[in-house]
Subunit: 351 residues, 2 copies
């Protein structure tokens, strides 16, 4: 089968845009909540291949998305490197923060593939269970975004601690970033070898930097990671999602990532008609419905989705997605309505 997502990532013509949603396996699904309760803890869910594969498949069964994204978390990488990571209900992730060179040196990149064996087993199970037309996406967090959690000890409002390290101890900070580039390349390569057909790198906190710091801590590591992966596994498409990057920064990714970056994920703030003109001639673009609309209702979500389709869907290289992860109170009927509408594209008059 020539899968529709793979065709779109190569910017080949498709009858309609492919569709998948970031965080499509999640708390808005009752079946997810049941499996998570069974797992008894978020990290258990990530590390139990049978359960992780089950929650990955749930949104495929229910909605028929064109791609399944591995169910996991970006923080399994620091966890595998030996950092203490835990999740407290309702509070987000917690980590024992890295406090300097000694903590950095104590991380063990060598144990990565052993420690993450359950993730690769999950991908293997999924390859056996996914419908033949569905693409399997692997992923990791971007070096900058993962570094913020490792240094802050959890989520952050202003990234004060991580930025302070970057400004005050740039050699140390660059050491951490480079370690993450290399570990992420190893991790994604192993995901590909275990069955991932596409990889996406999530830089959720890319949008908090001065222009100089963006180039140094977002752009350089992402392009370095993408180039290394492309060297190792040339046929696997790479999607970068630098959330919060400005339009001219996205243009720089399309230009300087030529032949390396296959697609750019666009957050909700990006004007799709601009991206259609400025980016789509060079890379596939993916996005960018405001996820809040799926919590509001089917009519509002469909109207906004239709505007996106009218803008970019008739040119090869457009993948329908959200501008950020789906929210826990998304309405399943709104998700169905949007996915069904995209699958019926091109729409006929009166629809």
């Amino acid at each position: 089968v020539d899968k529709i997502l793979l065709r779109a990532l190569r910017r080949q013509k498709t009858s309609r845009p492919p569709v998948w949603f970031m965080r499509q396996a999640g708390r808005y699904l009752p079946e997810y909540r049941a499996t998570r309760a069974e797992a008894g803890g978020f990290l258990n869910l990530c590390y139990t291949p049978k359960l992780a594969a089950e929650v990955t498949l749930q949104p495929i069964r229910r909605f028929g998305f064109d791609a399944a994204i591995l169910f996991s978390d970006i923080l399994v990488l620091p966890h595998a490197l030996g950092q203490k990571v835990w999740f407290e209900t309702g509070e987000g992730p917690k980590l024992d923060p890295i406090k300097g060179g000694a903590d950095l040196a104590a991380l063990s990149p060598n144990r990565l593939t052993t420690a993450l064996a359950p993730v690769f087993d999950t991908l293997g199970l999924l390859r056996g269970q996914l419908p033949p037309e569905t693409t399997l996406i692997g992923f990791c967090g971007a070096p900058w975004t993962v570094a913020t959690y490792m240094l802050e000890g959890g989520g952050s409002k202003d990234f004060h601690v991580a930025k302070t390290w970057a400004y005050r101890e740039p050699a140390f900070f660059r050491g951490l970033i480079d370690l993450l580039v290399n570990s992420s390349a190893d991790y994604l390569t192993a995901q590909i070898d275990a069955g991932a057909e596409v990889v996406q790198v999530f830089d959720s906190w890319a949008g908090v930097h001065s222009p100089v710091a963006f180039d140094e801590w977002v752009k350089r590591p992402l392009l370095h990671l993408a180039a290394e992966l492309k060297r190792r596994r040339p046929h696997v498409p790479i999607i970068l999602f630098p959330r919060g990057a400005h339009p001219h920064q996205l243009e720089a990714f399309a230009r300087d990532g030529s032949g390396i970056v296959d697609a750019l994920g666009l957050d909700t703030t990006i004007d799709l008609s601009w991206a259609h003109k400025a980016l789509q001639p060079r890379v596939a673009i993916q996005g960018n419905l405001d996820p809040v609309l799926l919590s509001v209702g089917a009519p509002q979500a469909k109207a906004a989705a239709n505007a996106l389709l009218q803008t970019a869907a008739d040119t090869p290289g457009y993948i329908f997605n959200l501008g950020h992860g789906i929210l826990p109170d998304a309405k399943t009927e709104a998700v169905s309505a949007v996915v069904d509408m995209i699958k019926r594209y091109p729409l006929h008059e009166g629809e």
Copy 2:
């Protein structure tokens, strides 16, 4: 005296750029913490003219900033409209959220100027006490940003509640935004009549919208507010700070706000060399040192400040500021070092 900030806002030549810092009166100053403790609560501090004037003056005395910004909070406006607002130590602001049309109708724009009399008294005291060369800035929050607090009941991570109102009940939401445009115009007019020589409108959460929603809930209300103020008090410069707006959205403010918007505040993510070329020919620009640098140390802060000066300071219409408010752990010696450097601009070789 022809004050340096007023000259820069008119894009007239000055010997060096004027300098002030957002949240320059704040917790990083021991004298602020002492006065705040004396006030016994954040809102008490805002509503006690003698103490609010005192904390406004503290950073002028210590650092010699070219402007003093009224010490207050953007949430005194909903408070004055009759919404319950309180501050819990270490938790940020809390409000009894607006839950629909009845709550909206219960707000009382008529009591605004009476309820905010202490703010106007503070401005009056400041006019009597400020050095003659120092400009007095009044401010308010932008309609969208204030609306998020009124609807969410406090700060938010994803502005889920406010956005849901905007998408699901646009007429109600527009009613709230329009009420805030009108109340903010009244409030800023009264601040001007009490002594404010410049006003700044803070849209701290402008950067979370789809392009369509940005134009509707950020751009339209800000330009409407600015136009109304300009009509009423034509000689008072207006600074808009739509934090998180994309470069082309800032360009739209400069273009569509011609004759209305005197200056644009730039957050840390904006490339000052771009703004110098694209915005400074039309409006004054203000920004945009990463405030984290003031927590890191004087050498790093000075190096980054110098790069900004080299970019924009030789063209009329540049005001040195931070890209966001100063942080509670900013080092006073770093603040001094940066302010002193700007006051000695143009720098001589070897400095």
